[in-house]
Amino acid sequence: MAADARVQLDDCFEINPMYLFRWEETQDSHVLLYPEGVVKLNEGAGAILSRCTGDKPVARIIEELKEIYSDPESNATLEKSLLEFLEVSHARGWIKLKS
């Protein structure tokens, strides 16, 4: 996948080792830490990135999140927004394709 290409359902992503991704109690959220920067992630973003472990295809992440968030209304848009978020994350260098 090139930097500007679309995310494929069989892609496996992992957190770019340049970033530190973890739960932060004082922010009650997941955070991404990198040289001189902090990104505070909302619940959905945290749920996705914590599944970017290098061994899960995107399709499986979608399935897992659909199970957790079973609201049918949001499930309709879940796949689309998840793919968008992964594309943004990849473009920002937060995640990379497992080689």
């Binding site: 932060e24 830490l33 040289p35 001189e36 909302n42 943004v88």
Partner: protein, 390 residues
């Protein structure tokens, strides 16, 4: 399910009242003598540095306050032998730990020890692409060692930030400096205009670049950033003297940034002690929690109630927070004034005059190098009386 973020609007850098950034100036000692150093002019009088145990208390209390990012800086932090021990403590506490260094004193052995201690990244300063030029500017044989250190940092798998302070003497070398950053495989490049406080302020007439230099560098950096997309992140800090807009200094006073000076003084920014009519509390007398939340110094310029016109009614105040309090004090006599770098400031003429002075035909003065007792501060205090705008 909460809405998934697709844009910046869902991301937050707001500390929500927490000091996200803890900056520990471990020492003012440094083997280099950079004439733009941000340390106090009387840096060698601060001999009573916090002990290892006192720094550990600072780290613990900072973490309890919610600090996430930690910078060990100086002076040259590696002058202290306990950096590895402090990095280990910081990692244990859960900080993202940044070492901000000149590279002097950094050996492969220490790099390995720092890696083992859990150091997350290294910011290395380098002043130019030219050995002779760098060595003259920092007053020591340093360039060759810095290049070796840069390669070692990468070889040991650290993310590397190259910090290049730019001045009149180096800005025309921008293309070569960018090529050097690429060759060294920097992950981040900070190509920054120096800020005029302390030593840089003293040497301002000789260090200030021309508008043309700044604009040319800006263009080159933009092209370089496009070419390096996905490989290197480039921060170009623009020159507030030429922008007509003030910098959003520290993201606002006492909002996310907490500096501890070598002697334990708590500061909202590293330069805050240039404001001579303020007292800053020490971690030796108070908890970090009290200093951050309750001290008069940290509360003095929080929020907007301290602002005067034109900031008070200006929509830009939400973006730039009125600029820099230290610069307002140094150049206008009142830290609550609008930063004179702002074209709307009634004191903006002092910036224009500074530029004019710097380029008036004259014999150039020698640079005052940052060395102990290079200048005397015995007879300088603050302003006698703040000047009125014309």
């Amino acid at each position: 399910m909460p809405v998934l973020p697709g844009s910046d609007s869902s991301l937050s850098l707001d500390g929500q009242g927490k000091p996200l950034w803890l900056c520990c100036e471990l020492t003012y000692r440094c083997p280099l003598a950079c004439p733009w150093c941000s340390n106090p002019l009387d840096f060698d009088l601060y001999r009573d540095e916090l002990s290892t145990e006192e720094w550990k208390r600072v780290l613990r209390e900072g973490r309890e306050l919610g600090a996430l990012q930690l910078g060990f800086t100086g002076g040259e932090p590696l002058v202290r032998k306990d950096v590895e021990e402090l990095v280990a403590e910081a990692s244990e506490l859960g900080y993202y730990t940044n070492l901000i260094t000149s590279g002097m004193g950094l050996t492969e052995k220490r790099l390995v020890a720092l890696k083992q201690a859990g150091l997350n990244q290294i910011q290395l300063s380098i002043q130019s692409c030219d050995r002779d030029l760098t060595d003259k500017l920092v007053g020591a044989k340093a360039h060759k060692h810095k290049l070796e250190v840069a390669r070692l940092i990468k070889a040991h798998g650290f993310p590397m930030v190259l910090n290049v302070p730019t001045i009149r003497q180096t800005l025309d070398r921008t293309e070569d400096i960018l090529a050097m950053a690429e060759e060294l495989k920097a992950d981040y490049l900070e190509y920054v205009q120096i800020q005029y406080y302390n030593w840089a302020w003293l040497n301002r007439d000789e260090l200030l670049p021309t508008r043309e230099q700044v604009e040319r560098a800006d263009e080159l950096v933009k092209a370089f950033r496009e070419r390096m997309a996905g490989r290197m992140t480039i921060y170009f800090v623009d020159h507030d003297y030429y922008m007509g807009r003030p910098k959003a200094c520290m993201n606002g006073w006492g909002t996310i940034h907490f500096t501890i000076a070598p002697d334990g003084t708590g500061l909202p920014c590293q330069e805050a002690r240039v404001i001579k009519d303020m007292d800053f509390p020490s971690v030796r007398d108070h908890s970090l929690e009290w200093i951050w939340h309750d001290s008069p110094a940290f509360n003095r310029f929080r929020g907007e109630s301290w602002m005067k016109e034109p900031c008070r009614g200006c929509p830009e105040r939400k973006k730039d927070f009125g600029g820099c309090r230290c610069q307002a004090y140094l150049l206008t006599g009142d830290a609550a004034n609008t930063d004179p770098a702002c074209a709307l400031s009634p004191h903006h003429h002092v910036i224009e005059a500074a530029i004019e002075d710097a380029f008036r035909p004259r014999v150039h003065r020698p640079l005052v190098m940052r060395r102990p007792r290079a200048v005397s501060t015995a007879f300088t205090g603050g302003w006698d009386e703040a000047p009125s705008p014309p």
